[in-house]
């Protein structure tokens, strides 16, 4: 078993649920071929550096896993058949230095996967707090302007 990283770009024309479904299907391809997924890192919708199949954007998803080297050809064959994929990049982490970096990235991805639940809630709350004060002055300003207009 060797450490591999699969970067997958899913078509942007699909809806959010369809993207999640296709990502799950991709992960299943790896697990069904004897691979073990260590961590995943959804990088989200990004602008592509160049258009692929006339798409300007794509949904990036990175999968860190240990797979038997012989299974890679089969997995890549399945990826090629999948029409929802724009591009995939498979990278092998073989030397000691690369494996150390790989483990570092896996722990980082795991932490990022756990963190969002904690991080997202304040992010959602803060705009709501900011919006309340901004709305009030706008209403006041309009109220001030209205009498002026009436006076004129």
């Amino acid at each position: 078993m060797r450490n591999y990283e699969n970067l997958v770009i899913v078509k942007p024309t699909l809806t959010a649920e369809e993207i999640q479904a296709s990502v799950k299907a991709i992960e299943e391809v790896i697990t069904s071929n004897g691979g073990e997924i260590l961590a995943t890192n959804p990088m989200g919708m990004r602008k592509l550096a160049y258009p692929i199949e006339k798409n300007e954007r794509g949904f990036y998803h990175v999968i860190y896993s240990t797979i038997a080297p012989s299974a890679i050809t089969e997995i890549e064959r399945r990826f090629r058949i999948n029409e929802e994929l724009l591009r995939f990049v498979t990278i092998k982490y073989d030397t000691n230095r690369e494996i150390a970096a790989f483990n570092g990235m896996v722990t980082k991805a795991k932490k990022a996967a756990e963190a969002p639940a904690k991080v997202e809630t304040p992010v959602v709350e803060t705009p709501a707090v900011e919006e309340a004060p901004t709305e009030a002055p706008v209403v006041e300003a309009e109220a001030v302007k209205a009498p002026e207009a009436a006076a004129e």
Partner: protein
């Protein structure tokens, strides 16, 4: 009568930072070794050592395959967006 050096002494920035591994997904970090037109900068201009130049060239090529860094840039794109997508 030692001749004065005409240019500043070149050194490898990656050696100085003790970079052991480069990640192709971090496209912003590749910017140092890319030209305005996203060509890989030669060693004689950046001062990279052989080891790190080999690493960065592999990493840039991976990033190109993953559509994080463009292969080529046309004249229009050069004017509109130099390094806009990678910060």
């Amino acid at each position: 009568m030692a001749e004065k050096r005409k240019y500043k002494k070149r050194y490898c920035k990656y050696c100085e930072a003790k970079v052991d591994f480069m990640d192709y997904k971090d496209a912003g970090a590749l910017r140092f070794s890319l030209s305005e037109r996203y060509k890989i900068m030669p060693r004689r201009l950046t001062g990279n050592c052989k080891r790190h130049q080999d690493m960065i060239s592999i990493v840039i090529k991976r990033a190109r395959a993953a559509a994080l860094v463009p292969y080529t840039v046309t004249r229009k794109q050069v004017v509109v967006a130099p390094f806009e997508n990678l910060k």
